[in-house]
Symmetry: C2
Subunit: 341 residues, 2 copies
């Protein structure tokens, strides 16, 4: 059997090529294409390929993604991250296996805890004041802010997949109460103290001090959190979105924060992104929302970087190399999200 063709599409794959090279052991004919290369050569390469690793920079632009429709012999497409809400399976040939990859769950959970602890303690403000000479926040002062605690607060997880489980494990160690809802009812197991379905969403919203979105974006979850759901939240509660921007209704969220209907929000995912055409987007790019979230003081806002840890990148690309090895060896692939009809 001739060596299968593998196409590494986009700058992302080039970036992590050293990890792939270190861990891949299959017999491949490897090709690569990045934005900036000859556009016609993309169609040639795509047309011949059996397996494809798609980089983010080639996904976010419709032009590149449409070229995947020319991959008539494609049998395995590897997405180098988790979300695949952007994927239209109808452009792929029948019988093509699509895999995503994890490895960033613990990085996401660490990011969520970094942000929740910053919300409670306000370390950065304390430090800025202290560096400028003030002892105002010291333990024996009666002025300054007495800071908050995560202890005894309730974390409500919407969706109970891999990321939510990592958050739950840490919440338990922080002596928080952890509750969750997910699409399908499953058995209640530690560290959860309550586990409902999406029909119980309002109950979760009413009980939680931190409402954490850990669900996919799909037609069922688009604008899942709307003005009505935001009204259900406690007035001091914090909404944490590390899922996808559009799980929360954009204008409703902005208004709830502006009018201080909820305590605040920790937002890592957005409504507007830089185009993928530029493989290395420089400073600038569109504002993350049509609304001025950056004018609000009750928001911790970050540029979709929760998973951006060195360890998560390494684990993900090691898992991709392992999946490529599996494909070559005819072994079952990991992280299969769909097989096209």
């Amino acid at each position: 059997m001739p060596a299968p063709h593998l196409l590494l599409l986009g700058s992302h794959c080039q970036r992590y090529l050293p990890i792939l090279n270190q861990h891949m052991d299959g017999d491949w004919k490897i090709d690569a294409w990045i934005p900036g290369d000859e556009p016609a050569s993309l169609l040639d390469k795509v047309a011949q390929t059996d397996a494809l690793v798609v980089g983010t920079d080639t996904l976010l632009s419709g032009d590149y993604f449409r070229s995947i429709g020319e991959a008539k012999s494609l049998k395995y497409m590897q997405i180098p991250f988790t979300g695949y809400d952007w994927l239209d399976p109808s452009v792929l040939p029948a019988g093509c296996t699509v895999c995503n990859v994890y490895g960033h769950e613990s990085a996401m959970a660490e990011f969520v805890f970094a942000a929740m602890l910053e919300w409670e303690i306000g370390l950065r403000e304390i430090e800025a004041r202290f560096r400028s000479g003030s002892w105002l926040d010291r333990g024996t002062s009666f002025r300054g802010r007495v800071h908050g605690e995560l202890r005894d607060k309730t974390v409500g997880l919407i969706g109970y997949g891999a990321i939510s489980r990592e958050i739950a494990r840490r919440s338990a160690a922080f002596d928080m109460t952890t509750i969750a809802v997910s699409r399908s009812q499953r058995d209640l197991e530690p560290p959860l103290s309550w586990y409902g379905t999406m029909e119980d969403l309002n109950l979760l919203l009413e009980r939680s001090d931190y409402v954490i979105l850990g669900c996919e974006l799909n037609e069922a979850t688009r604008n899942l959190i709307d003005a009505e759901q935001l009204r259900r939240m406690k007035s001091e509660a914090v909404l944490v979105n590390v899922a996808r921007g559009h799980v929360v209704h954009e204008e409703s969220l902005y208004l709830a924060l502006q009018d201080r209907k909820i305590g605040g929000a920790i937002l890592d995912v957005w409504y507007q992104y830089p185009s993928g055409d530029d493989p290395e987007p420089d400073e600038g790019g569109p504002p993350p929302s049509a609304y001025d979230f950056d004018q609000l003081d009750n928001v911790i806002m970050t540029p979709h970087c929760a998973a951006r840890s060195g360890g998560a990148e390494r684990r993900k690309w090691e898992a991709i190399a392992d999946n490529l090895n599996r494909y070559c060896a005819g072994a079952p692939l990991n992280y299969v999200v769909l097989v096209t009809a």
Copy 2:
């Protein structure tokens, strides 16, 4: 038996009087004195008292503390925090029981995790850049900083008391390796993977990514971490001092940070403090060290506020009320640190 005299000394006690009133049920004759009251009346009140709750503001000034030497009938002195390195038991009458109090262990652990996660992720810098319009740190960019993770790092705890145990429990949930040394050898138990005595300090320093001081300040621990110990640490390791400043040799620490011999430091405790004479120290006060730590970019520095959470304050003063109730009822006191000879 006549009601025992209780003296609430210092502004701190006044601040938390509502909690005491809510939880105290003993039959006391209660008196109070705060800095600013007539100095002569302090001596009168001290001379008559059976029990004393000392506020921080009356401890940090030698003048007030010396007045405690006049407490000839004192049988029980309650310190409203944990450290008692400042206490000279010889000024107290024989048979006096001194208690401290906890309740802040989880707040301390939360603070340590807030600071370690800030060290790894750099949330505040990411957010500042994003608010000013930059997508540089987003997950799909190849510029910006790929952030770190706590996962798989090693936490080395020096001292394994209540605070260190709370840190260890959280470290385990973050998939960190946790090791410790303490004065007395005890059995190795989860989540520790290694447990030595102070004789093994160098081994702990060599293995740890985060060296966390959780020990008392006493003659055995003063300058415990000196230039020699700092040299044992990994070049990327971070020293976390939430114990007492003088556990670490001041100049050696500054030089190790300035010369980047270690990765950095998270410092909540210091070498110079505002006087306790001012019960509500305003902005200003002495610099925390004779060295310019505030000119270093590899330090997270805070004004001894790790335990300054609302929950910790509430738990501590509830425990003090409980101890006062125990004294009245003749029940054994909690948190006894010494009984004077």
